[in-house]
Symmetry: C2
Subunit: 349 residues, 2 copies
């Protein structure tokens, strides 16, 4: 296979967004497809993972992942196929998972790549239920949330890549599971396809009352992925000894305050109220970043892989076709337009 | 011993305070000293414990302890001596610890009373370092804070009943310990008598800078007893993976928002900033109430009792003489006027 006549499109960070990213945040550039040197591979993109944490990397601020460079391609978890190989460790046709740039073709010396089982029915699951979001769901729920049978577990962003797995694991553990999602369509899917016990629409102005009605015995575990109004509705319902794994805060990712945690938001100060609740209700809140917990990865794969095979976990995937549509899809992700794990499928996949 | 000619003074809750308690919050009533019936004891007060959590009980709001009744005597941990006994389980002269009313004399059927060892050199320690505050310090620091050798531990209200023990246990565990206390005199005692590595004055307008300078390697454990400006100064200094046992919030006990956690305070909203810090820094915050952990009480007594005997823990006590001075002493406690564990000693003690 020769690639010299083809074009390699790259999606670059054109400007750092103030607030929500827009079309101007991104720029597409074209360049010739490169040729692998000795020890290198040429990779052709198959699936690109779009995840909310990437919004944080668009800011020029220290966080748990370094900022994206301005004018350089965005990067993230992706699946690609080896189309040329001058590396004995990889053969043409191998499917690999790794951190890759948002581009059609890339060179690699194999560092950081994991080969996927060619028998895998849905390779894209390696970016979702069997990848970082699934691992995040499994760790946060089981190691921090630790739901017991009969506990009420509330899951924010319930139809998302992480939330959809959190709720289904909580059901397997015997909990009563209430989702929070945006709009009646998502709520319907959360109950019908993911088999949560109930789902509340966070766009409903009566969210607090609806959540209280859906949780008549209070909340024992709240899996925090969102922040904002959802967290406010949850707070008064937390039971004594409740656990709150803090996994994400998508409602705040476009806030100035997220960039600089010392910049206070305008409005009444809810911090003393939170601290009082933590004290009086003996709440355990804990933030986590899944890359700290690599030692548990095999346990996660065994558990969640097994549950998917047994049909006990349903995988919701939202597939967008074409690398050129990644920017618009990412903008929509932060607005909650996706249903399930958002992946971009390359046209040649 | 007969008591019929003596007077029994009781201190009652005269009104529920709005904000800080004042002299009008309390009322002293006199009544004859009662006589024990069959199976009863007459107890004479020796030491009365004054603790910040009692402020919460003055509000007519549900909390982890029920509200004090309006027009009834206040109650709390106390040490008394048996002066008449018609109960085979207790003899005249026995020293007992238990929840008692703020009064000179009380009848009891013995329920809830613990006999103190008559050889105890400082019985009042049973209200402080060897009582509820010491147990609170031991549990919160070791079970939630879990300091390792070389960790930096910051202790709010460092000269108080709980903080003074927290810091000394952290030193025993090999941590570097920085106290926060109100005023230069307290800070001096914290360093000289309690042997903390440093102490920062929370009345200093440059608190944030002073704390940062005292914690050049950031903060691994923050023992929260205070809230307010101290917590704000701590937040940006927390290291990745820091632990924050939430034991008390004395800066907020007089706030309206403490009564009703759904009433937001005025001012810029610092809640999103806190949540962001919890996420990015993987903070573990956990509220606790010591009465949930009775099963650990023997371990606590063995540890802290041993450390006091070995001279590794210094006990700071602030003794106020005379039951009639309890109201003023309690008002001062919430203003931070005490130095160490605040106890009222009955004049006949």
């Amino acid at each position: 296979m020769t690639s010299t006549n083809r074009t390699n499109r790259s999606i670059l960070l054109a400007s750092r967004p103030q607030g929500a990213p827009t079309a101007d945040t991104f720029r597409i550039e074209q360049s010739p497809v490169p040729s692998p040197g000795d020890g290198e591979l040429l990779l052709e993109l198959r699936y690109l993972s779009l995840d909310p944490y990437m919004r944080g990397r668009m800011n020029d601020a220290p966080s748990y992942t370094p900022p994206f460079e301005l004018g350089a391609p965005l990067t993230g978890g992706a699946i690609a196929q080896v189309v040329e190989s001058r590396n004995a460790g990889f053969a043409v046709g191998d499917l690999v998972l790794g951190p890759l740039a948002w581009q059609d073709y890339a060179l690699s010396d194999g560092t950081g790549l994991t080969k996927l089982d060619p028998a895998m029915e849905h390779p894209s699951h390696a970016l979702g239920a069997l990848g970082m979001p699934g691992f995040t769901a499994w760790h946060g729920l089981l190691k921090i949330g630790a739901p017991g049978a009969g506990d009420t577990v509330v899951v924010a962003a319930a139809s998302g890549a992480v939330g959809s797995i959190v709720g289904q694991i909580a059901k397997i553990k015997g909990a009563r599971v209430v989702g929070v999602a945006g709009g009646p369509d998502k709520c319907r899917r959360v109950v019908e396809e993911l088999r949560f016990d109930a789902c509340v629409d966070h766009r409903d102005p009566g969210l607090a009352e609806a959540l209280a009605a859906a949780c008549p015995e209070g909340i024992d575990v709240y899996f925090e992925n969102v922040g904002g109004a959802v967290f406010e509705a949850v707070l008064p319902l937390l039971n004594i000894g409740a656990r709150v794994p803090v996994c994400g805060l998508i409602a705040h990712y476009n806030d100035a305050g997220y960039v600089d945690t010392e910049v206070a938001q305008q409005g009444p100060d809810r911090l003393p109220g939170l601290m009082t609740t933590i004290l009086k209700k003996r709440i355990h809140m804990e933030g986590f970043i899944i890359s700290d917990h690599q030692a548990e990865h095999d346990d996660f794969l065994r558990d969640v892989g097994g549950w998917i095979t047994e049909g006990r976990i349903e995988v919701l995937e939202d597939v967008v076709d074409g690398l050129e549509n990644a920017p618009e899809a990412f903008i929509g992700l932060l607005e909650g337009r996706n249903n399930g794990k958002l992946v971009v499928r390359a046209r040649h996949a």
